[in-house]
């Protein structure tokens, strides 16, 4: 463990190289897992954003209950 930025960057590079060197089937399995994770994060973010928008619509006096969401 170190706070030496050069060493941190080197270890990141080495890790990326080791991932790049994996067999393609293994990399595709990792893609599957990454996709699941990205969808989960997106789901959380969307849910949070929608909740925040709903709150904004209710609480903001200028809105008067109108839906201003144009996304």
């Amino acid at each position: 463990m170190t706070f030496d930025l050069q060493k941190i960057l080197e270890s990141k590079r080495a890790y990326r190289q080791s991932l790049a060197a994996l067999p393609i089937a293994e990399k595709l399995r990792i893609l599957d897992a990454l996709r699941e994770r990205a969808l989960a994060i997106r789901g959380e973010t969307e849910a949070g954003r929608n909740a925040s928008k709903a709150e904004h619509r209710v609480d903001h006096p200028i809105n008067n209950g109108r839906n201003t969401d144009r996304n």
Partner: protein
């Protein structure tokens, strides 16, 4: 699909294509580039035969995508001469006994330069750092498709010694 005549040729591009050469990165879909001929009696090229073929085999259409094995797959025509060339020169790669055709690393890197979004620039840097590019071949592709200027700008911005 190629063997059944649905498409003339296909190749995987995008982030999944890049994963054949680099470390895996998160992506939500698969880009498959296809060359197709117009249906008889039509001048317009349509993805309908592809969708019909794949839905008959369990694929599910969702908007512009067809979901296969849980992955949304987008079929794209080659929109530029560079992508057409990438499709022509794509290479066969083995995935656990199954052959898959993929754009070459040099074409993927050149397409990233041409597309030029932030994530494409990041991917181009990854290609350069990976040492997977044949630099003569890469430069020849850039020259052939008028990308020398874009490359010089990229080099100055991201590969220069000065911060």
């Amino acid at each position: 699909m190629e063997a059944d005549g649905v498409v003339d040729r296909y190749a995987i591009g995008g982030a999944v294509g890049a994963t054949f050469f680099l470390e895996p990165f998160a992506t939500l879909d698969v880009d498959i580039f296809v060359s197709v001929r117009p249906e008889p009696g039509s001048l317009i090229v349509s993805p309908k035969p592809i969708f019909d073929y794949l839905t008959a085999r369990g694929g599910k259409v969702e908007g512009e995508y067809i979901v296969i094995g849980g992955w949304p797959v987008q079929f794209l025509p080659p929109g530029t001469p560079l992508v057409s060339e990438a499709l022509r020169e794509a290479v066969e790669m083995d995935v656990e006994g199954t052959q898959a055709r993929v754009f070459t690393a040099e074409h993927l890197a050149a397409i990233a330069l041409q597309t030029g979004r932030a994530k494409d620039k990041a991917r181009l840097l990854q290609f350069i750092e990976s040492g997977r590019l044949d630099s003569d071949r890469f430069r020849a592709i850039l020259a052939c498709h008028g990308l020398d200027g874009a490359w010089r700008k990229f080099e100055t911005q991201y590969l220069g010694d000065e911060p």
